[in-house]
C-alpha cells in the first residue's frame, strides 16, 4: 500500500523547506503560462473585438469554431504541435522542439479559444448604446472600440484568468513539445507525471499540492474580488 498520509507530510515538509528544485518547477510553470496568456491576449483580444462588435458573413461560424475548440484535448494539440515543431515538420528548421518557447507558443494556442470566447461574450454584453454614444461625442471608430473594451474589462480579465488556469493545469502540450526536460522544460503537471512514473511519490504529491493551491488560490481571489464588487459580474444587461 502507498503511505498517503506519510507522503503528504513529507511533501509539505519539502514545500515548507523551500526545496529549490520544487520552486524552480513552480516558477517555470508560472512563467510559461503567464507569457502564454499575454501572447494569447495580444492576438485574442482583437479577434474578440471583431467578433463582438462587427457584423460580417461567417461570424457565427467563427464563433462556433472558437467555442468548439475550447475543449480540444491538450494531448491532441500537443501531438499536432510536436509534428509541426519536429525537425521533420513544417517549422522544424526553427529548432523550437523541447525548448521553453515551444511550450509558451503551444499553451498560447491552447488558451486562445477560451480567451476569445469569454472576451467576445463580455464585449457583446456591453450596451451597444455606449458605442453609439462615444461616436456621437466625436470618437473615431477605434476610440469607440476601446471605450467598449474598457466597459468589458472585467470580462476580458476573467478570460485571462480562465486561460491561465487552463494553461497551468494542462499536461499534453508541455509534455509533448517541451519534452519534460528536468530544469529546462519541466512544469508542475509534467513533473508530477515524471515523479509518479519514477515512484517518487512524495515529490509528486508536493508538486500536486502546489498546483492545487495555485489553481484554487486564483479562483478564490476571483470569487472574493467579485463579492467585494471590485470586479463586477460578467457583462451588463442593457439599462
Amino acid at each position: 500500500m502507498v503511505d498517503i498520509l506519510g507522503g503528504i507530510i513529507k511533501a509539505l515538509q519539502m514545500i515548507l523547506s523551500g526545496d529549490p528544485m520544487l520552486y524552480g518547477i513552480l516558477y517555470r510553470s508560472l512563467f510559461f503560462s503567464g507569457i502564454a496568456v499575454i501572447l494569447a491576449t495580444l492576438w485574442g483580444t482583437p479577434i474578440a473585438m471583431l467578433l463582438g462588435l462587427k457584423d460580417f458573413r461567417g461570424k457565427t461560424l467563427a464563433k462556433t469554431f472558437f467555442n468548439s475548440l475550447i475543449g480540444i484535448p491538450t494531448v491532441v494539440l500537443g501531438l499536432v504541435l510536436f509534428l509541426i515543431f519536429s525537425k521533420g515538420g513544417p517549422l522544424g528548421s526553427l529548432g523550437l522542439l523541447y525548448t521553453p518557447g515551444a511550450i509558451i507558443l503551444g499553451e498560447a494556442v491552447l488558451v486562445t479559444p477560451i480567451l476569445v470566447s469569454i472576451a467576445t461574450t463580455a464585449i457583446e454584453a456591453v450596451d451597444p448604446e455606449i458605442m453609439n454614444l462615444s461616436r456621437t461625442l466625436g470618437a473615431s471608430e477605434s476610440q469607440a472600440s476601446i471605450t467598449v473594451l474598457k466597459e468589458a474589462l472585467n470580462g476580458v480579465l476573467l478570460s485571462n484568468i480562465a486561460s491561465f488556469n487552463r494553461a497551468i493545469a494542462e499536461l499534453g502540450v508541455a509534455l509533448l513539445v517541451g519534452g519534460n526536460i528536468a530544469g529546462l522544460t519541466d512544469v508542475l503537471t509534467t513533473a508530477i507525471s515524471r515523479y509518479t512514473a519514477r515512484g517518487d511519490l512524495d515529490l509528486a504529491i508536493a508538486l500536486g499540492i502546489m498546483l492545487m493551491v495555485l489553481v484554487f488560490g486564483i479562483n478564490m481571489i476571483v470569487i472574493t474580488a467579485r463579492k467585494a464588487k471590485l470586479l463586477l459580474t460578467l457583462g451588463r444587461s442593457p439599462q
Binding site: 500500500m1 501572447l39 525537425k87 523541447y98 518557447g101 509558451i104 526536460i181 509518479t196 519514477r198
Partner: protein
C-alpha cells in the same frame, strides 16, 4: 494585431538566440525510461556536466520514440534496449557508432500468491502456464486481467513480444485475449496497473526494485536472470550525414554526442554504473558491459549478449562506424 505578431516573434527569436548564443552547447539525449526512472542518468548527467561545457537535455519516453526522435534529427544521442530495432536503425543509416554500455535482466513479476504457479519455471514455460491459466478463467468478459503489457513499443514491450513468440504464440492473437491488458504507458504505470489488478507483467529489474522497495507495489519477482530475459542497453550517436534527409540532421551535435558515448564506456563510468543502486537495493540495477565484452570474459552472460545483441558478430559492424576507431579497439 501587429503587437501580437511582434510578441510571437520575440518569443521565437528569444528562444533561438538563447539556445544559439548564450546557452551552453546543447546535447539532447533521448532515452528508454528504465535508465531515466531509476535515476542513473541524472547522476551520469551531473558527473558529465561538471567537467564539460555542455547542457545535457534528457527526454525520456521509451525506445520507440527515441528511434523516431533520432530519425527526425530531434535528438543527438539515443540510449535504447531493443537490438532488433537498433539493427534496422543502423541499416537505415540513422545511427552510427553503437556501443553496448550495460545489461541487466528483465523479470516476470506477479502477485505473491502466484495463482498461475509460474515460480521456478523458465520464462517460456511461465508464459505457457499464464496462457493456460488465462484460458481457464471463468470470466472471459475482459473484466479480469492476468497479464499487463506496456503496449508502447518500448524495449520492454519488444522483449515481451519476442518472449511470447519464443513460447510458440502469435503475439497479435495473444494481445487480443480477454485476459490480456494493454497499458500503453511507462514501466512505473504498468507496474501500478498490474499491482492493482493482481496480474503478471514483464518489468525491467531497476524500476521493479525501486517500486517494490518503496512499498508502492506488492508484486513479487517470480522469474529472474535467465538468458531469454537478458536486457542489453546500448548507446548510438545520431548520424549527422543521412543522404536521404540531410536537412533534418544538419544541426545534430555529433561531436558532443560522441564525447558523451566515450564517457559512458570509460572505465570510471562503467564502474559507476555497476555500483549504482547497490547500497540501496542490495544488488546492482545495471551491470557494466564494456570490459567483459572487450575481454571476451568466460561468464556465460558474455556469450548471451553476443547472441542477443551482436550484429554480424560485432556490437557495431564496421560499415556503421564513423571516426573514433578507439571505441572498437
Amino acid at each position: 494585431m501587429i503587437v501580437a505578431v511582434l510578441a510571437t516573434a520575440v518569443v521565437v527569436a528569444g528562444t533561438l538566440v538563447y539556445f544559439n548564443y548564450f546557452a551552453k552547447r546543447r546535447l539532447i539525449i533521448s532515452t528508454t525510461t528504465s535508465l531515466y526512472d531509476t535515476g542513473l542518468l541524472d547522476e551520469l548527467e551531473k558527473n558529465y556536466e561538471a567537467n564539460h561545457n555542455v547542457d545535457i537535455n534528457i527526454v525520456s519516453a521509451g525506445t520507440g520514440i527515441a528511434i523516431q526522435h533520432a530519425e527526425n534529427g530531434d535528438a543527438d544521442v539515443i540510449l535504447v534496449h531493443a537490438p532488433s530495432v537498433e539493427k534496422t536503425f543502423l541499416e537505415e543509416g540513422h545511427g552510427v557508432n553503437r556501443k553496448i554500455i550495460a545489461y541487466n535482466f528483465f523479470t516476470i513479476v506477479g502477485p505473491s500468491d502466484d495463482p498461475a504457479e509460474i515460480e521456478g519455471k523458465t520464462a517460456k514455460d511461465a508464459l505457457k502456464t499464464i496462457f493456460a491459466y488465462g484460458e481457464s478463467l471463468a470470466d472471459q468478459s475482459g473484466q479480469t486481467k492476468i497479464w499487463v503489457s506496456r503496449g508502447d513499443k518500448s524495449g520492454t514491450h519488444t522483449k515481451e513480444q519476442s518472449l511470447w513468440k519464443a513460447a510458440g504464440y502469435n503475439y497479435t492473437l495473444i494481445s487480443a485475449e480477454p485476459w490480456y491488458a494493454n497499458a500503453g504507458s511507462g514501466m512505473g504505470d504498468t507496474l501500478n496497473i498490474a499491482d492493482q489488478k493482481s496480474a503478471y507483467t514483464l518489468s525491467d529489474i531497476g524500476t521493479y526494485l525501486k517500486f517494490s522497495k518503496d512499498g508502492t507495489i506488492s508484486l513479487v519477482a517470480l522469474i529472474t536472470q535467465e538468458e531469454s530475459l537478458l536486457n542489453v542497453y546500448s548507446a548510438m550517436a545520431v548520424n549527422k550525414t543521412v543522404p536521404a534527409n540531410q536537412t533534418l540532421h544538419e544541426q545534430i551535435n555529433y561531436a558532443d554526442a560522441m564525447d558523451f558515448i566515450k564517457y559512458l564506456v570509460s572505465d570510471e563510468t562503467q564502474q559507476f554504473i555497476e555500483n549504482y543502486g547497490k547500497a540501496t537495493y542490495g544488488q546492482s540495477l545495471f551491470y557494466a558491459a564494456v570490459q567483459p565484452l572487450k575481454n571476451d570474459a568466460p561468464q556465460p552472460v558474455v556469450s548471451w549478449i553476443e547472441t542477443a545483441a551482436f550484429f554480424e558478430g560485432s556490437e557495431c559492424p564496421p560499415q556503421y562506424r564513423s571516426d573514433y576507431p578507439e571505441l572498437y579497439s
